[in-house]
């Protein structure tokens, strides 16, 4: 499910099938700025959604997306060397999946670091400035979903974000988390169970 109206599958899916990702990687390897801009246009939105829903912080999410794109820039020569344009390997290259894996891992790392530093599950700082009523109401609604997601451990959170919000197939989500499919399905089952319990607890407590 994609609540913000974005397409569930990114344009990258089609481009990967035609080997366009390999061509893009080759241009990135040649240090073509236009290629990087193109990659940002293609993938940054999806990466930002994942990063934002995992961290619950827009700035943090932008940082993650930026870091992921810069890593693509750094690794482009290696990627292009392993998937030369016109070869069979070129058709198998999926930059979207690669970026998704990098962004997910970056988000998990940042969540763990934040938890170590703050000792809590939520981001360090909340905006305490007074807001208009509408904004408060929207924020409360937003916070309830965010709190449900944030109550999950990092990897379970990633599993829910990738499969529910991004509607990725289990295999693709497992690849993004660098797991085998069986382990991922087990993780996803635990995540959904935890989510239901958290929702039930909040509903009983009157938070929802």
């Amino acid at each position: 499910m994609n609540t913000s109206g974005e397409p569930a599958t990114s344009p990258a899916t089609h481009s990967a099938a035609t080997g366009a990702d390999a061509a893009l990687a080759a241009r990135l390897a040649a240090r073509d700025s236009a290629a990087l801009r193109e990659a940002i246009a293609l993938h940054a939105g999806a990466l930002h959604r994942v990063a934002y829903r995992m961290t619950g912080d827009a700035h943090e999410a932008e940082d993650i997306v930026q870091e992921a794109m810069l890593r693509l820039w750094d690794h482009a020569p290696n990627i292009a060397a392993r998937h030369p344009v016109g070869s069979e390997a070129a058709g198998a290259l999926k930059l979207g999946g690669w970026l998704q894996r990098v962004a997910t891992n970056l988000a998990i790392d940042r969540l763990r670091r934040a938890r170590r530093l703050s000792g809590g599950e939520f981001p360090d700082s909340e905006d305490d400035a007074p807001l208009a009523d509408a904004l408060i109401e929207a924020n409360e609604r937003d916070l309830s979903a965010r709190a449900l997601i944030a109550a999950l451990p990092e990897r379970q959170r990633a599993a829910i974000v990738l499969t529910y919000y991004e509607e990725l197939p289990n295999a693709a989500a497992a690849e993004a988390l660098d797991m085998n499919i069986k382990a991922f399905e087990s993780l996803l089952l635990r995540a959904r169970t935890a989510l239901r319990h958290a929702y039930a607890a909040r509903a009983e407590g009157g938070a929802l």
Partner: protein, 310 residues
């Protein structure tokens, strides 16, 4: 959709759907491009990246290291006898090779342990009596030297017996036969010691009476020659021949000895067997609690060549 899926339209789904994502800030792409321009070149790879090849090599290396460690541990355990403590039989290299090649290894006697430090050679050398003895001093000197040789030979005999016991145990272990435990082994050694002590007592009594005869002879002014010390049995050609023959038999390996006995004419072999049985029964009669139960492989007939007459 499985039963675990979050059902669209359910309260949980509605709650989750209320999580809009803000758009990327304006100029995000420009900021990334600027950062990419200013980004330092990435560090070179620390190790070769070969995709599954490199991973396979790393895994192979780990497997090799693991196998080497396991081999070293297993070898150490086998060498230190830890495996035997847990009743795990460790086959010898010859057995393993024989099972691989299908050839039967020849039965080889257990390796003879390095000979124990023998008493001084002078103590073991036979006492040579050249001329006649006609004074008590000369006689007592001859007795003293003979006693020295007897003690030396007795010590050697004890060591030989110990070695034979050890070899018998080794042979049984190599053949996979049950081994005597420490208590049984101690009992066996005790029986052998008792038999030895008894035999020495008897020999001592015999020697003492013979010496008294010789002392009386010297006191009466007669002379004592080598023949008086050696005794009549040694002069018997049949006895000497038999002793020589027995000596040859003892010097053979068990396999050679078996072959030799097999090649004897049946009558001669029968005579030998009868003689051996007779000696065994005599020994059993003399020592009902000891030699009758003693395994033949461990206690062999006493060597008469090392048993001085005096």
């Amino acid at each position: 959709m499985s039963v675990d899926d979050i059902i669209p339209g359910s309260p949980l789904a509605r709650a989750l759907n209320d999580y809009p994502v803000p758009g990327l800030s304006a100029g995000f792409a420009d900021r990334v491009l600027a950062a990419a321009e200013n980004r330092a070149a990435p560090l070179p790879e620390l190790r070769r990246t070969g995709g599954s090849g490199g991973r396979g090599w790393r895994m192979g290396r780990r497997i090799a290291i693991g196998a080497a460690c396991f081999g070293a541990l297993a070898t150490t355990a086998a060498a230190t006898g830890v495996l035997e403590r847990f009743d795990i039989a460790v086959p010898s290299a010859e057995k393993v090779w024989a099972s691989l090649t299908g050839k039967e290894t020849p039965v080889v006697a257990a390796p003879i342990a390095s000979k124990p430090a023998e008493p001084a050679a002078a103590a073991l050398a036979p006492v040579v009596i050249d001329g006649p003895i006609d004074t008590p001093e000369e006689l007592s000197e001859a007795f003293r030297r003979i006693d020295e040789v007897r003690e030396g030979r007795s010590a050697v005999r004890r060591q030989v017996i110990d070695q034979r016991i050890d070899r018998a145990i080794e042979r049984r272990r190599a053949a996979g036969l049950p081994l005597p435990d420490a208590e049984q082994e101690a009992r066996l050694r005790q029986r052998i010691d008792e038999a030895q002590t008894l035999r020495q007592q008897r020999a001592g009594e015999r020697i003492a009476s013979r010496r008294e005869e010789l002392e009386r002879k010297v006191e009466n002014g007669e002379t004592v020659t080598r023949e008086d010390f050696v005794g009549p049995r040694r002069a018997d050609p049949a006895t000497i021949e038999r002793r020589e023959w027995l000596k040859q038999l003892r010097e053979m390996s068990p396999q050679q000895r078996r072959e030799f006995l097999r090649n004897l004419p049946p009558e001669q072999r029968r005579v030998l067997v009868e003689e051996y049985r007779k000696r065994r029964s005599e020994a059993a009669t003399k020592l009902p609690n000891t030699s009758a139960e003693t395994p033949a492989s461990v206690v062999e007939p006493a060597d008469p060549t090392v048993q001085p007459q005096i």
